[in-house]
């Protein structure tokens, strides 16, 4: 390292013209640690909490290994204390007018500004990241986040009317995520009136410092509580009664495990997983600028992950040459040096990168490393991996920091297929000077954020999130606020966990259908089929299930669908998806309105079907009428999607797009058999999804009646309806890898199973936890929550200039 080498004289430097060390003093960070006697506990309820008889771990300088402090590890009772404090603080905090909360957030922003030097030196010292990035990027952004959300709090009563804060929020951070990730999430939560308990990994003092800064503002001590402890405390925090939502930032596998653990535990789970990004470089790009984009993405300490780089074949050689040339000029070293590009990320990140590179090499990849980086651990040189065989495990695995995996593509269409083929979907950039091509790729990518001719831009006003395995939790912008809100009047989320639920056998076997006794009266019509791919077909099992009316008499037979039918339905939905997404919202609205008209034409039949199932005539009429209204309302709403954001410091717009989830499976509730079915269907279709529906189990016939119109009116495969044993169908849908989202309205056990099973492809799920809904009320049936859930956001950055 530079410090240990003998210092060259000015005379020597005059000849070599080399860079020298630009050390940043970390005296103030050490002084702060001294105020705690180098002994850090937790920060709860505005006070330091240092309980006795706890394990402790050392907090070390990742580069020198010098011990900076001792950090206490929390135990379950510390978590309980923190959640209690947050719960008490919630009473006051949520009751405040938005303007007062705004004031408080602004005071915290001022506080950060006053102590920014302490903040950035401490962060860089402990994490090893380049101080330049923390100082010029993270700290100003942290302040900006507070300011933006203060404004949101100020306008909350007006803009977010009809929504209320959820309550106590648990935030779990994994070691690779910086304090900024915490800021992204606590700011909206605090702004809307929630209080937060943050569980940080051991030996991360910066969140504790932030909590102390917030606590020293006085007025509301318990709104931000930080405890440090092992990852195993995550489920403990999440299952505390009172914790309404848990947001987790970390590795994909950890997120998956947490999803399974928390199934049925009550708290909603938001996941922000992985850190890999993607860069698509076309032949029409400014290659040198794109190379800088690669540096921004992987080799500048901005992101915690690696980069997947897709390069058009015609510029492959040129790009690789420029990349390698650029890599040679990168400087790595101690993070607290003002002139290094890359710091170190500790031994764990080093080993992860080394393991990946070693495996890639053994699988036949070319590995290029360069740059002025110290050769000893924990430093890892910028690494470029190419020629990785398409089938090798490394191609599928997440690329770690600071590795870039380059692969060629021939056409833009192929690039899109490759990019969308990866299981991750956080962020991507497209480099092309051809406007049409750039927009085509930008719209086509299935990710949360797309930058055109830039990479890694961030702003508090722009929602940041992902899809697929990157999780569907959002932060920043309006989407970040809705993460911590629920429609007013929603009951608190309680645990509905059932010990007896066996995930292995739930809905596995279909109870066999036996003849339902003597058929009295006129012979019932032929069984209803399954609507799959635009026409009715017989179920694979070739059996039907009887449906009884309110008096216990046989009403009719519906098809007994199974796994095979679900597979067919999902496939048909996938085939119909591109056509439906391509439709303009106007065209979608026209179809929904036509369906409403058809439904009204069937009013008499539908009313009598509902009546036979025990609905009063008056209520049945209302249900049919409301159903038609829902179709029209969602059709109209389809036209007002997304908007343009104007972002400070960026010339050009950022588009907030609302894109369909894809193939959406909906298991409809038993109550309101027609209205719930139509409401869910209409919202899903209006937002461009294609659907596989399981109608009400007790009373599927009204929905199936409507299917006759849908088969005639709607494009084939857009809506697929499968009847049968609900648990069995739910199991098939929840475990299906190509179902991109699932809404479940049914039993508590079913809800728990759906949450558990969604961990497979991490599809977003929405469950009713066994609680029936009042679908005839505006808040539920046509509420904004349904609209929020029916689409996902994408932020498309379009910097401009010539």
């Amino acid at each position: 390292m530079a410090a240990t080498r003998t210092k060259p004289s000015a005379r020597e430097i005059f000849t070599t013209l080399e860079y020298g060390p630009v050390p940043e003093s970390h005296a103030c960070a050490l002084a702060w640690l001294d105020t705690q006697d180098r002994h850090l506990g937790h920060y709860v309820n505005g006070k330091w909490l240092k309980p006795e008889h706890r394990n402790s771990v050392p907090c070390q300088d990742p580069i020198t290994g010098e011990r900076l402090a001792i950090c206490l590890q929390a135990q379950a009772e510390d978590v309980v204390a923190a959640v209690e404090a947050a719960g008490t603080a919630f009473e006051n905090w949520s009751g405040l007018p938005g303007a007062s909360r705004a004031q408080h957030l602004l005071r915290l922003a001022k506080m950060i500004q006053k102590h920014q030097r302490l903040l950035w030196t401490l962060e860089s010292l402990v994490t090893g990241r380049a101080v330049r990035e923390v100082r010029d990027g993270d700290v100003p952004l942290a302040q900006q986040l507070l300011q933006y959300h203060a404004v949101q709090a100020y306008t909350q009563e007006e803009v977010l009317a009809g929504w209320e804060p959820m309550g106590v929020i648990g935030l779990i951070l994994s070691p690779t995520f910086s304090f900024l990730e915490m800021m992204w999430r606590i700011c909206p939560a605090l702004a809307v009136g929630c209080t937060v308990v943050v569980l940080v990994p051991p030996a991360s003092p910066t969140p504790l410092l932030l909590a102390q800064l917030a606590g020293e503002l006085g007025s509301f001590p318990g709104i931000l509580n930080v405890i440090s402890g092992p990852a195993s405390l995550g489920p403990v925090l999440a299952s505390q009664p009172g914790v309404q939502k848990v947001t987790f930032c970390g590795a994909i596998e950890e997120g998956r495990a947490l999803r399974r653990t928390l199934a049925g535990k009550g708290a909603e789970l938001g996941l922000a997983l992985g850190a890999e990004s993607l860069l698509m470089l076309t032949e029409a790009a400014d290659v040198d600028s794109a190379v800088e984009g690669v540096v921004d993405a992987a080799w500048s300490d901005r992101s915690a992950g690696g980069l997947r780089l897709l390069i058009q074949e015609s510029v492959w050689d040129e790009t690789m040459r420029r990349l390698q040339e650029r890599m040679a000029r990168l400087r790595g070293g101690r993070g607290l040096d003002g002139a290094v590009d890359m710091g170190a990320r500790g031994a764990a990140a080093h080993d992860l990168a080394q393991r990946y590179v070693r495996e890639a090499r053994s699988q036949g990849a070319q590995v290029f490393q360069a740059g002025a980086v110290p050769s000893d651990s924990p430093f890892f040189p910028p690494t470029l991996v190419s020629d990785l065989p398409p089938a090798s495990p490394c191609t599928q695995a997440e690329v770690p920091w600071p590795v870039v995996v380059a692969s060629p593509f021939r056409t833009a269409k192929e690039a899109l297929a490759v990019a969308n083929g990866t299981p991750r979907g956080a962020s991507a950039s497209v480099w092309s000077e051809r406007l049409g091509q750039a927009l085509e790729l930008g719209y086509g990518l299935r990710v949360g954020t797309v930058w055109i001719n830039a990479h890694g831009l961030r702003n508090a006003e722009v929602p940041t999130g992902g899809c697929k395995e990157s999780g569907s939790s959002w932060s920043g912008g309006p989407d970040g606020l809705y993460e911590y809100l629920r429609p007013s009047g929603t009951p608190a989320r309680l645990s509905y966990f059932s010990e007896n639920l066996n995930y292995g056998t739930f809905g596995l076997a279909v109870p066999s259908t036996l003849p339902a006794g003597p058929e009295i009266g006129p012979s019932p019509a032929t069984p209803y089929g399954l609507l799959i791919g635009g026409h009715f077909q017989a179920p694979g099992a070739r059996s039907s299930r009887p449906i009884q009316d309110a008096q216990g008499n046989l009403h009719g037979y519906v098809a007994e669908g199974g796994a095979k039918d679900i597979r067919g339905a999902v496939e048909a939905a996938h085939q119909a998806a591109p056509g439906w997404v391509g439709q303009s919202p106007g065209a979608r609205a026209t179809l929904l309105w036509a369906l409403a008209t058809a439904l009204e034409r069937r009013e008499a039949a539908l009313t009598s079907r509902l009546e036979r199932h025990g609905t009063e005539l008056k209520d049945a009429k209302v249900e049919v009428e409301l159903s038609a209204r829902q179709l029209r309302a969602w059709g109209a709403r389809a036209q007002a999607q997304g908007h343009v954001l104007q972002v400070a410091g960026l010339k050009g717009p950022v588009l907030r797009l609302r894109e369909p989830l894809g193939v959406l499976a909906i298991v409809c509730p038993d109550e309101w058999p027609l209205l719930a079915f139509v409401s869910l269907l209409a919202a899903a279709l209006a937002h461009g999804n294609t659907v596989v529906l399981v109608p009400s189990g007790a009373c599927p016939i009204p929905a199936l009646e409507l299917c006759q119109d849908m088969a005639a009116l709607l494009p084939a495969g857009l809506v697929n309806v499968v009847t049968g044993d609900r648990d069995h169908l739910t199991r098939c849908l929840a475990l299906h890898q190509d179902v991109q989202a699932l809404w479940y309205f049914g039993s508590a056990q079913g809800s728990q199973f759906v949450e558990w099973a969604s961990a497979g492809n991490l599809k977003p799920v929405w469950v009713n936890r066994g609680c029936p809904w009042a679908w005839d009320q505006e808040a539920k049936g046509a509420g904004r929550e349904l609209g929020l859930r029916a689409a996902r956001t994408k932020a498309l950055w379009l910097p401009m200039g010539d």
Binding site: A10, I13, S289, E292, G338, A339, G801
Partner: protein, 359 residues
């Protein structure tokens, strides 16, 4: 003159507002030979216009890069002193005023020969390096004066002359060529040619040995984003043909800090091999005095020097800013000088220095 000026109106790549081409002659001129200059077209394979049409520049991305590059590389202490001295060797010490006379040209040439005070160089152990600026740059009519003054000082610093209707270049080709010929006759060994912008704007490019950001007489002169585009073009040209084209930012580079940023820009975009006076020049008139001041302010020089220097820009004594962090024992003259400054608030830094020396 060895005039390797292969073309009179030369390359101008990518940038929008900057014109002007530097044509260094032999880079270490050994004598004066006025061999033919004129329009030698470059070898056909060396300049292929299809590259230019294929070239893509994304302006917002270049702006971001320009911003980053200034924040990501700094040098301190010994490194800063050495880099500043290196920057001196790249300077084309320039005077391009309407009222230039032989006396100020003489002073300019003396400054070119002795750019940094001897005692400062001694503290850095650099006094025996024969440090000079890269060239002096004057109007054609002053070339004679400059050549004479440099000869009298006994040094071989090349004389560069702007020519061809500088700074607009809107004169006839015939008079422009004649201007070059006369300047070379007078002893200029490098000619800064203003290219015909009419040709550029209609897409008719020509090749060059050196490209310059601007004449220094425009409203916008050397800026980082434009320089990035030019440097990348230089690198691409080198990769394609093996020819190294030089780069000269000119206009608006006044502070030592700026000069360091330019050095690191070239180092980052082109590499160390371009950091030689053969391939990199800084056109500047007032930069040198700021560099001298900063070398003097460098902590390395403090304890050895007896004179007082102030930061002109901020009008605050340098140590007054530093003493907050450092103990006054590092700075033996601190108290005394502060008192002096307080007693004479109306004086500018140069006057302070002079008065101090007199006292």
């Amino acid at each position: 003159m060895s005039a390797r000026n292969r073309g009179t109106e030369l390359d101008q790549v990518g940038g929008a507002t900057e014109e002007g081409v530097d044509l260094p002659s032999s880079l270490h001129p050994t004598g004066m030979h006025t061999s033919g200059f004129g329009c030698f077209p470059m070898e056909p394979e060396a300049l292929n216009l299809s590259w230019i049409s294929k070239m893509q520049v994304n302006q917002p991305a270049v702006l971001r890069r320009a911003q980053q590059i200034q924040a990501r590389r700094t040098v301190k202490k010994e490194w800063q002193a050495a880099w500043l001295l290196k920057a001196v060797t790249f300077i084309d010490l320039t005077t391009l005023s309407g009222d230039d006379t032989s006396s100020n040209i003489q002073r300019l040439c003396y400054k070119a020969k002795y750019p940094i005070r001897e005692d400062l160089l001694k503290t850095l152990n650099m006094h025996d390096k024969g440090l000079t600026t890269a060239a002096v740059c004057v109007y054609p009519a002053r070339v004679c004066d400059a050549v004479r003054a440099l000869k009298a000082a006994g040094c071989t610093i090349p004389v560069a002359s702007v020519a061809t209707g500088f700074p607009a270049g809107q004169t006839h080709l015939k008079t422009r060529l004649e201007e070059i010929r006369l300047a070379v006759e007078d002893g200029a060994t490098e000619i800064d040619v203003v290219i015909n912008r009419t040709l550029v704007l209609t897409g008719q490019w020509e090749g060059s040995d050196f490209i310059k950001t601007s004449t220094g007489k425009e409203t916008v002169n050397a800026t980082f984003p434009v320089a990035i585009v030019m440097l990348r073009a230089i690198r691409d040209f080198f990769w394609k043909t093996g020819n190294k084209v030089g780069f000269k930012p000119a206009g608006g580079i006044r502070s030592a800090k700026d000069s360091l940023a330019w050095l690191s820009l070239v180092k980052e975009e082109l590499g160390d091999e371009w950091l030689t006076p053969d391939l990199f020049r800084i056109g500047a008139s007032t930069l040198l005095s700021d560099i001298e001041r900063q070398v003097c302010n460098n902590p390395l020089s403090w304890d050895k020097l007896t004179s007082v220097f102030l930061r002109k820009k901020r009008k605050i004594p340098y140590w007054a800013m530093r003493t907050r962090e450092k103990t006054s024992s590092d700075l033996p003259h601190c108290t005394q000088t502060s008192a002096f400054i307080q007693a004479n608030p109306h004086l500018k830094w140069a006057d302070w220095t002079r008065e101090r020396e007199c006292a």
